[in-house]
Amino acid sequence: MSDKEQTITAIDGKPRTILLVGNPNVGKSVLFNALTGAYTTVSNYPGTSVEVSRGDCEIHGVRYQVLDTPGMYSLLPITEEERVGREILLRERPDVVLHVIDARNIERMLPMTLQLIEAGLPTILVVNILDEAERRGMFFDIPLLEEKLGIPVVGAAVRRRRGLKEIRAAIVGFDTTLRASFGYASDLERDVQRLTALMTADYTIDARSLALLLMQKDEELLALVKDKEEDNFPAIEAALREITFERRVDLNLRISLERKRVCKGLLEGIVRQEERKGRPLAEHLSDLTMNPWTGIPLLLLILYFGLYQFVGGFGAGTVVDFLEGGLFEEILNPWVIDFCQRVIPWYWLKELLVGEYGIFTLGIRYAIAIVLPIVGTFFVAFSLIEDSGYFPRLAMLVDRVFKLIGLNGRAVIPIVLGFGCDTMATIVTRTLETARERVIATLLLALAIPCSAQLGVILGLLSAVPGALLVWTGCLIGIFLFIGLLSAQLMPGERPMFYMEIPPLRMPQPRNVLVKTLTRMQWYFLEIFPLFIIASVLLWAGKLTGALNWLVNALEPVMRLLGLPSETAAAFIFGFFRRDFGAAGLYDLQTSGLLSPVQLTVAAVTLTLFVPCVAQFLVMQRERGWKVSTGILVSVTTLAFAVGWALNRLLLATGMLQ
């Protein structure tokens, strides 16, 4: 550790902070990874659910803490993510704010740079994705832009590691006293002046910027100002009311247009556009993904190779066989069981550790050998697709169908993620804009979306019986649409709306995919692993006390109603602890020849629809509250059995699958 570093970090006892801000899809995360190396921790921002990555880096002997904020379009937040992004901007008192923009859309993104400068934040502008811009014939005069803006400006193509050195140099040599200011039209300036003159308290952002945000009806900041100004507040509020009334027709638009005008002036002589002929291949491919005639077959191909072959075949097949069959069954289990038998004299403890539902034999083995490979391969596939920019295209493709079920295209991301882990997906429903959409998505995830672990087992189970897989898929799609339609009709609330920026299709970068996958798996492990242990402890306690038997007995009449053998009751009870436990229970019954094809299909459908696992239920309860989550639990359970009963009758009556 050098002397210099010690002195610098010692000033206030904490490292300096760098904030990365900017629109979605401009390469913030790539820059974050490049600056911090692999040592990323992703955490939820305090008091919210939105993920924020934190990492450390050292530049020329100075230690910095780097924060990657969620994408935002402007300082005036609309979505939950943007709100968090701004909160970080206002609260962290950053030493450097790196505003990352997409060079191709500089005209559109520069207004936010203005807002950052206006707010008095120590901003460095990173004009990123220069390589793709140059390929389109756009060239930039960076030094001139720097001179006009009055802040450091760096041109970069971070994915190609271009400009990283310059960014580091700019961070270290940053002189925060540099300030430029931009004037708006005189009438607007007059209103801003009027408000700033009234404000006396001390704020983290410049009063001018605060005034503009207040004029745009920023409720949060209004509350903040109310809090800080105390006696002064009524005067401010009165002035504000007058201004907003005077400008009721077009205030927001006026401000946006003023910024656009300023940016146009700033960009004069900066961008040189050369004519380019021909369209890049990525654009043709992009068209294919968005045209329903080619987009749907493409989607099916992605599902087949990504989900069925890679996750189902490779993850749930090859890797699980290796870990479960090879590592655990042959090497670890015998050794651990033998060790416990010799060392531990008490029956109950032996049962707890290595018994039928033992922590090791069930909990750990299950988590590591079965679930981890399946979920891991799923996250690899998911991160690959995410990094390529395919999801927004999928969202626009399914928007119309999703509208029917009360959601909008945006909801594909939580729904697709649900095929990996419904618990994680339930958390991600936060990105949906209205409470109504969040409840519907939570319900559908709990009901009709099997998670990858469950999917893996069920696919294996049903592929042995011709036609069963088809009936199962048909049932699930039918229920998904039917319940979605029904809840869209019954749930009060606004019609969802859909808007989304479609980023260009890109070749996924292995490094990014790896970091995203590892981050997700880390989360999964930390959140879910303890639940495996708890589940095996509960099952163990249930077995010892006889409660498990009692529950199984209680469920038997229901099983008979569905035409299922009474042994399946146990599988259903397990299903609550882990969705896939239940499916695995069926697997045992199937291999011992206890289930006919009809029974197998009915059991698989019912089990898939049946209650979410404990983890998902707990998250549901945390996210949606007791009332909604209990409601969902009860209706899902009832529905699962009702569908099972009806399906059994139907299959028997039509003689299908016999």
Partner: protein, 216 residues
């Protein structure tokens, strides 16, 4: 010669039944009038209609007047429902009162303001006036909703007509601002358009609220 309000209502219904419904005449009951009603006599005197037994026929002399009455009613509906935001039957009732004010060129002005709409909010055709035909002949495109553009067409964003402030801010934040050039690339399953080098997808509801000046 000015037709009375009640007579206008009769002409309007008669037009709908005969011209749009395909019947050759309308029964008195369908017009909610009686043989000795004042307005019926008035119209007969003007030779706009002819009454045979219990059926009323629209004469060629009355066609233009009837057509324009229907036009005024539907323009009024457009104004009340789209611009003044009256919804449902309330809008319809007010349109019935409002239409009688649209004489002496007021209808032409309104039609131009509304950019020569071709259908009423219920989807029925608005008979075109001379102003519509002139606009068509001179190739005047005016300002239309994004939904009116064909894939490949370009336009300049004229204004955003959303009543929802959050939506408006979102669109503006993404760079969808009046004055920007826009290219529509796809209408189905969602509306896809480009502004500069960025591409956006919006649903039909939102596309209806983005108004563009078609480039020619």
């Amino acid at each position: 010669m000015k037709v009375s309000h009640k007579a206008e209502e009769i002409l309007e219904r008669l037009w709908i039944i005969t011209e749009e419904g395909g019947d050759n005449a309308a029964h008195l009951e369908a017009l909610s009038t009686t043989l000795d009603a004042e307005e019926l006599l008035e119209l007969q005197q003007m030779t706009y209609i002819e009454v045979k037994g219990e059926r009323v026929y629209l004469r060629p002399e009355g066609r233009e007047e009837a057509r324009m009455t229907v036009r005024r009613h539907r323009l009024a509906e457009r104004l009340l429902m789209d611009v003044l935001d009256y919804k449902g039957s309330g809008g319809n009732e007010r349109a019935c009162e409002f239409e009688h004010l649209l004489h002496h060129g007021v209808d032409t002005k309104l039609c131009t303001l509304l950019n020569h709409p071709t259908t009423c909010p219920h989807g029925k055709p608005i008979p075109p006036g001379t102003c519509c035909e002139e606009a068509r002949a001179t190739g005047e495109t005016g300002v239309v909703a994004l939904t009116e553009l064909k894939p490949g067409e370009t336009g300049e964003i004229a204004y955003l007509a959303t009543g929802n402030e959050k939506k408006l801010q979102k669109l503006m934040g993404m760079g969808v601002l009046p004055g920007s050039e826009l290219v529509l690339t796809r209408r189905f399953p969602s509306y896809i358009f480009k502004v500069g080098h960025s591409e956006f997808a919006v649903d039909e509801d939102l596309a209806k609220e983005i108004f563009v000046r078609r480039s020619t």
